[in-house]
């Protein structure tokens, strides 16, 4: 186990290194740079002005040094300063990452809490009205793009109910009620696709399991239907469902970009998008690195959980 963890952590370090080079390179390859954007469109940059700005941001140094300067800082725990605002990037991330994590987490909760029971019920009561409803919801959930759903939620709430939460984001620990009022719509919009996926998966696995011989045996030995479902079916259906949840957590993290933008939530997805448009190299590099680290850690947790749940899987 500890050997497995050590190996995986080492792999994460290599992955992050590769990612940092990629992001660093991709940002420099983008046409247009921060100098153009600083000068703006009122005039072209004079050579003197260009040099001054490049000097200020160290952009006149060879690329390798620019990379090592940044990386050296990151290793010492200093993510650098935003080129545009001069604000330390760690401040910004510390403020924005929790918003994105909360959004991801709430979407996950929404998806699991709705999908798993609905999937189980619709498998057990196959072809019942509940099953029909679940199947329609499943198809709709997959077909509706999350940004459309987000805009519809906003439109319905504001136009027909004349209600919206306060536009000023309130952290959960400052005022949980206010925070949840702000987060439920984004969480549903973001979690809908995953909910649909998970529900369909749960339903089909449950159908599969319910047709197995050991279920017939369980019924034959006189267990109640409830006992059959809880003791035998769900236990066996659980593992693929948990795998799917783990895989989707990463997907949710990526989907926050557009949802944050629509609901005006100050999360890290929006922060990275804006920084790309402004060619704020350091901010993009550091924020992507942190997001990547997070993604890798979530995947690691899922792998560990997976192995703990299924005794057949060994840490190899």
């Amino acid at each position: 186990m500890s050997q497995f963890l050590a190996r995986r952590l080492l792999a994460i370090v290599f992955m992050l290194f590769g990612m940092s080079v990629l992001v660093f390179g991709a940002m420099r390859l983008l046409p247009g740079d921060i100098v153009n954007l600083m000068v703006g469109m009122q005039s072209s940059a004079s050579a003197e002005q260009r040099e001054a700005i490049e000097g200020q941001y160290g952009l006149d140094r060879p690329l390798v040094f620019q990379y090592t300067d940044w990386m050296g800082g990151v290793i010492r725990g200093d993510l650098g300063k935003s080129m545009r605002s001069q604000e330390p990037i760690s401040h910004e991330i510390r403020r924005k990452l929790p918003v994105t994590l909360e959004l991801t987490f709430l979407s996950l909760i929404f998806a699991v809490v709705v999908a798993v029971p609905l999937g189980i019920i619709s498998a057990i009561r196959r072809n019942s009205p509940v099953d029909l409803f679940a199947r329609i919801l499943g198809v709709l959930g997959l077909a509706i793009p999350n940004f459309w759903l987000a805009i519809m939620l906003l439109l319905i709430a504001s136009r027909y109910f004349h209600w919206l939460p306060s536009p000023v984001f309130t952290p959960f620990f400052d005022d949980p009620i206010e925070n949840l009022q702000q987060m439920w719509m984004p969480a549903i919009a973001l979690g809908m696709v995953m909910m649909a996926n998970l529900m369909r998966m749960t339903r089909s696995i449950m159908l599969d399991v319910m047709g197995q011989d050991y279920i017939r045996v369980a019924r034959a030995k006189g267990l109640s239907e409830w006992g059959v479902v809880v003791k035998h079916a769900i236990k066996n259906a659980g593992i693929p469902v948990i795998t799917l949840i783990g895989m989707n957590a990463g997907y949710l993290l990526g989907g926050t970009v557009i949802i944050e933008q629509i609901f005006g939530l100050p999360g890290i997805g929006w922060m990275i998008t804006n920084a790309i448009f402004q060619r704020d190299y350091t901010t993009v590099q550091s924020a992507v690195l942190i997001t990547g680290l997070l993604f890798a850690l979530v995947n690691l947790c899922v792998d560990v959980a997976y192995a703990l749940l299924d005794p057949r899987i060994r840490f190899a």
Binding site: I53, S85, E92, R95, S166, P167, L265
Partner: protein, 521 residues
């Protein structure tokens, strides 16, 4: 140019009412009603300012918010006329000398009193190339700033330039407090995201980038009686749908919107749309340095062959007006619509092309922008060129990539937009003077430059208007640009506030000072 907003068609449908039950069960106190005896309001705006440094960040997105915190020596009324700001009066004893008399007793938000030293410090900061001030071009005529006494400051210019008065009103000319700035600089760079200290009507409480800027009334603001709202939250909402929803739910009482949103909220009784010609002008700029655009006949063929009304009708839903080189409605500087020499004549265009040696037209590439409304302007432009036999290919890119090509003058003809002129010289000088940094077409005309020199030095208003007209006539004749139209701009306010007046320019220092919260009965 203001930052564009991604707009998606709003589809009305009856589905997705999933949260309906939950909605009605929540009781909610609106943010703006929460404060007891202080008045407060939420204004929603479409873009995040990149920084809160008034010297380096002076695009529209920054200007709109920074003009509430900082002020310059002069300011503009809502029709863009120059009026006294931090300077009470000024005189211009000779064309190269401008003396400003500061308003006595003006206090910064930290309590320090405004002096001539602060003015010198701020203007020197703008002029220092290392500052990378984005309005630098407006101030380049200043050779030195001299402190005469604590309330008098004299600018010595290298060339006569009357537009220096209007330049003092742009965000780049904001006055910082010298002692404060030096104190901040002691710890390295000034972190403008967390601190601000201007003389303006509002002080900074907190800036959370991507979310909001909290402002509080400057209690000892020199213009007594204003501002009227104690606490203002400047909320960034990039999506227009979000801003419209916030207006409807009354969680925001002001929003920047566009034409389609205007149609959407038109049915809501408590929302007022403020619209009219603004300073935003979609234009196409030819690269006069290159063939075939170096041939005036080709430019004239395009000028007579394109239908400018097509952009107004197809892109702006009819809400724009034909325009010359200066935005329609700009003081007395612009050419009235009925005097514009625009008659569409496709046959004449083809004749001119043949005369220029291109009887079968030619191939060209339009460098376009991928953001509304410029993306659609590009499409109309392409169609209009094709209608006179010019085979145009449209290449649309993202703003940063587009800007790199613009700065390198690497284009045949491109789509661009004006947005922040406050004096006619800012456009006519920068964009067309031979060799200027901002001369994107590469236009060069001796007679024009001669008139420009006279115009820069002319302090008599009527004579200056006359010169401005002559210069515009030369431009229309030579046609390095297609000035498509002056677009309308749109703001919406709800019944929670009163007193908003739309300004035609993007430096609305006065606008929010007069706005007050409507008392709830």
């Amino acid at each position: 140019m203001s930052n564009p907003v991604i707009s998606r068609r709003t589809l009305l449908g009856g589905s997705a009412a999933a949260g309906a039950g939950l909605l009605s069960s929540l009781s909610y106190t609106p943010y703006w009603a929460a404060a007891q005896d202080r008045s407060s309001a939420v204004f929603s705006y479409h873009a995040d300012p990149a920084s809160l440094d008034p010297t380096t960040c002076s695009g529209t997105n920054c200007a709109y918010i920074l003009n509430h915190i900082y002020e310059g020596l002069t300011r503009l009324d809502s029709d863009a006329n120059v009026e006294p700001g931090l300077a009470e009066s000024w005189e211009n004893p000779d064309p190269l000398t401008w003396t400003f008399h500061l308003r006595p007793g003006v206090l910064f938000q930290n309590g320090a009193e405004l002096t001539a030293d602060d003015v010198k410090y701020s203007l020197d900061r703008v002029l220092d190339p290392a500052t990378a001030g984005s309005n630098l071009a407006f101030f380049q005529a200043i050779e030195s700033v001299e402190v005469v006494d604590p309330l008098t400051v004299t600018l010595h210019l290298s060339t006569p330039n009357v537009s220096i008065l209007a330049s003092m009103a742009v965000t780049g000319g904001s006055i910082l407090n010298k002692a404060w700035a030096e104190e901040q600089l002691a710890g390295g760079a000034i972190d403008f995201t967390s601190v601000a200290n201007g003389t303006g009507p509002y002080g900074l409480v907190e800036f959370v980038s991507g979310d909001r800027i909290d402002l509080v009334r400057h209690e000892s603001y020199w213009d007594t009686g204003t501002p009227k709202i104690d606490d203002v939250t400047w909320k960034i909402m990039q999506e227009m749908e979000t801003r419209v929803a916030a207006l409807r739910a009354r969680t925001a009482s002001f929003a920047t919107i566009d034409a389609t949103a205007g149609l959407q909220v038109g049915s809501d009784n408590g929302i007022t749309i403020h619209s009219g010609p603004g300073f935003s002008m979609p234009v196409s700029i030819h690269n006069v340095r290159k063939a075939p655009y170096d041939n005036p006949l080709v430019r004239q063929a395009i000028a007579v062959g394109v239908d400018r009304q097509a952009v107004i009708d197809k892109v702006l839903n009819g809400e724009g007006s034909l325009t010359g080189p200066l935005p329609t409605g700009f003081g007395n500087w612009y050419i009235p619509t009925d005097e514009l020499p625009y008659t569409v004549d496709k046959d004449r265009a083809k004749e001119l092309l043949a005369e220029a040696g291109y009887p079968d037209g030619f191939d060209t590439v339009i460098l376009g922008l991928d953001t509304p409304p410029y993306d659609q302007v590009g499409v109309v432009y392409q169609a209009e060129l094709q209608s006179i036999g010019i085979n145009a290919k449209l290449e649309q890119t993202e703003f940063g990539a587009w800007l790199e090509k613009i700065h390198a003058f690497d284009y045949d003809t491109h789509v661009n937009g004006y947005g922040s002129v406050v004096d006619p010289e800012h456009v006519l000088g920068r964009s067309f003077r031979c060799g200027s940094d901002g001369n994107f077409p590469g236009f060069c005309n001796e007679e024009y430059d001669e008139l420009l020199l006279q115009m820069q030095a002319e302090s008599d208003l009527a004579a200056r208007e006359q010169l401005t007209r002559q210069m515009q006539d030369i431009l229309l004749e030579d046609a390095p640009f297609i000035w498509w139209c002056t677009a309308f701009d749109y703001y919406a306010t709800t019944d929670q506030i009163t007193g908003f007046e739309r300004a035609i320019h993007p430096y609305p220092r006065e606008v929010f000072k007069q706005v007050s919260v409507v008392e709830e009965s």
